[in-house]
């Protein structure tokens, strides 16, 4: 059985001449006195090096290094260190290296280049303890709006901040609040969209798990601003921990009187319920999400009327994404001017991205809007592993497009990305290296959207399947040159005619790879070559026999 501790006593010539043998014997005796000989092993080693500090002794696994140990110190070492776990400081040798690292405040670029607003509490406070949230200023923004501001002032502050929806489309948040407030109706609702469905995206999950109260507080402020009493958080069932933490947070907020009737002794009352979604991608679309909360099949409907006019149960409803709500308290506490000072002309504040793919540091990052793709991939992401070449980034998941390495200096904001044929999306960033086949990548995302299409409208249900089939053919070496034109025409048509955001954006991966990597498509079709070595081409088949030919002998 391994021992709990190993005490390494140096038995190099220098230490022995300094009487280390006596120390070892004494140690044995004292350990025996305290019945520790089964727990602690004494190991005699060769010379450890720092002979001028001898006799030396090393305790593992602690890594405590004792120097100039005398026989009379042994008793103390055993009693204090071995039994109580408190090393004898006066005999201890601390390496200068260990001290230096803390003193120099080691920073790796992964954290250095980030600006944490939404994620400021994630990884810092205990999400299951409301008091830790209150300790960092939690619910003060809610207190401020309820006691010092009118709903109109709150909305004005949100408009002035320039915050735009973090779910993907980037609609101005303040304006959405204003429209919902002004919509006639005796009852209104606030809904939080936590149906994060992009493959590889997990911003919302991290916020709900790491700082659930910030979402609750943001929703309560929104409810006050638009005049709602009830809120719903729609989370997918694949996020059990997020659901558990949010549920706990809601219960604690109720217990502390931060949800419920007459919050902060005002006339404002508000409560929140969780609705668990089954994980259909289309339910991230707001009208489909509303249908799902109502207990109907999760299918989108044409807009207008917008949810702000006719939403949940036909009442005016404000739907914002998790990250959007998490921004609210910071804007209220620090002011719209502060928020508007971060980011670019049209895109304010920060954005959380889920960095994945062929990049050294994968994970969640929060950066000011306007940071370049290069900074994101190389400074924060730490570059591409195995010295491979950076090829492109896919931003916005299956609804987004890819941005090739040549455009790496592009600042990340809503407009710049749109110009390049992609979208901000919810914040999934997949880094691609030279081993990625762009045709196959487009096929991968199409496979996803074909599966997730709700099937309600023809362009999306049938069009996407055709796109997929053509891509599949090309990746198997059976493509024709006219396929390229068909892909483009069909893609544009699907975008133009689909009912909801799913179909309207699903062709983006195909169209953007065609735009920037057309030569790869041509290579696949003409040369039956996949430069990334991903696609397996089938052997050229015998000329296809027509149906008439086959039937000739039979009929």
């Amino acid at each position: 059985m391994p021992k709990r501790l190993d005490i390494l006593v140096c038995s190099g010539a220098a230490c022995i001449s300094n009487d280390s043998t006596t120390i070892k014997n004494r140690l044995q005796a004292v350990l025996k006195e305290h019945n520790l000989e089964d727990e602690v092993a004494i190991v005699e080693t060769g010379c450890m090096g720092p002979c001028e500090l001898g006799p030396v002794m090393l305790v593992y696994p602690d890594g405590v290094f004792y120097i100039r140990v005398k026989e009379s110190d042994v008793e103390e070492i055993v009693k204090e260190h071995i039994i109580r776990g408190r090393p004898v400081k006066r005999l201890q040798w601390t390496t200068p290296e260990a001290r230096r690292i803390v003193e120099e405040k080691k920073q790796i670029p992964f954290f250095e280049k980030q600006l944490k607003i939404v994620l400021s509490n994630c990884g810092k406070i205990d999400p299951e303890n409301i008091e830790e949230y209150i300790a960092v200023g939690g619910y003060e923004a809610l207190a401020k709006v309820l006691t010092e501001m009118t709903p109109e002032q709150v909305i004005e502050e949100m408009i002035n901040s320039g915050l735009r929806g973090r779910g993907g489309a980037g609609f101005p948040t303040g304006l959405k609040w204003k429209v919902t407030r002004e919509s006639p109706g005796d009852e209104k609702f606030v809904v939080c969209n936590g149906d994060e469905g992009d493959p590889g995206a997990f911003m919302d999950r991290a916020i709900l798990e790491g700082d659930p109260h910030s979402v609750i507080e943001g929703m309560a402020i929104a409810a006050y601003a638009i005049g709602a009493k009830q809120g719903y958080v729609y989370v997918r069932a694949e996020y059990p921990l997020a659901i558990k933490r949010l549920e706990k947070a809601i219960q604690q907020a109720r217990k502390y009187g931060l949800l419920g009737n007459n919050i902060f002794e005002t006339s404002f009352s508000f409560d929140i319920e969780i609705r668990i979604g089954a994980g259909a991608f289309v339910c991230g679309e707001e009208t489909a999400l509303i249908a799902s909360i109502e207990g109907k099949r999760g299918q989108p409907r044409p807009k207008p009327p917008f949810p702000a006019q006719k939403g949940l149960w036909g009442k005016p409803t404000l739907i914002n994404n998790v990250e959007t709500f998490a921004n609210v308290r910071h804007i209220i506490l620090n002011g719209s001017k502060w928020f508007a000072s971060i980011g670019t002309e049209t895109s304010k504040g920060t954005k959380v991205f889920a960095l994945s793919g062929k990049v050294n540091n994968t994970g969640l990052v929060e950066v000011p809007m306007g940071i370049t793709i290069k900074e994101l991939v190389f400074d924060i992401g730490g570059g591409i592993p195995d010295n491979k070449k950076f090829k492109a980034v896919q931003i916005g998941g299956p609804s987004g497009g890819c941005v090739p390495a040549d455009y790496a200096d592009t600042p990340i904001d809503y407009e710049s990305l749109r110009k390049l044929g992609t979208i901000m999306g919810s914040g999934g960033v997949i880094v691609l290296d030279e081993d990625t086949c762009m045709v196959n990548l487009a096929k991968f995302f199409l496979d996803f959207t074909v599966e997730e299409s709700c099937g309600q409208c023809v362009p999306c249900r049938i069009g996407l399947k055709h796109l997929y089939d053509i891509l599949d053919r090309i990746t198997k070496g059976r493509g024709k040159m006219e396929d390229i034109e068909t892909l483009e025409k069909l893609g544009e048509e699907i975008k133009r005619t689909s009912l909801c955001g799913l179909g309207q954006s699903a062709p983006n991966p195909v169209l953007s790879t065609l735009r920037y990597f057309r030569e790869e498509y041509i290579e696949h079709i003409k040369d039956k070559k996949c430069r990334a070595g991903v696609c397996q081409f089938e052997e050229a088949k015998e000329e296809e026999v027509s149906l008439e030919e086959k039937l000739k002998g039979i009929v």
């Binding site: 602690d62 810092k124 209150i134 300790a135 798990e209 994970g363 969640l364």
Partner: protein, 121 residues
Amino acid sequence: MKLEDLRKIREKAEKELKLREGKARVKIVVGMGTSGIAAGAREVLKAFIDEIEKRNLQDVIVTQSGEKGLSSHEPVAEVWEEGKPIVVYGNLTPEIARRIVAEHIVNGNPVTEYVIEVKEA
């Protein structure tokens, strides 16, 4: 809840968060988001607690948080000590967690090879 109540809770909780009042000398915060747990944060948390109990360190508390973001280095944990910068560890295993208790918490020597960030408290 009244406004004053919130202020009072904040004052009290702020102190606890910052470990004043001599309640705890050290706080270990383990990132327990989905990525962390998938990477083994639960075992790491258990190892911290176990090692602290084994050594009967009464002035050390272990708590949890959501994820810090650096998924490729999960499990991640922070060591908060009064008056010192926060040391963030990554790529933890139960064994390294035990070493951190022994070398860093007890002896004041951070296990440098696993430190991914040091920041102001």
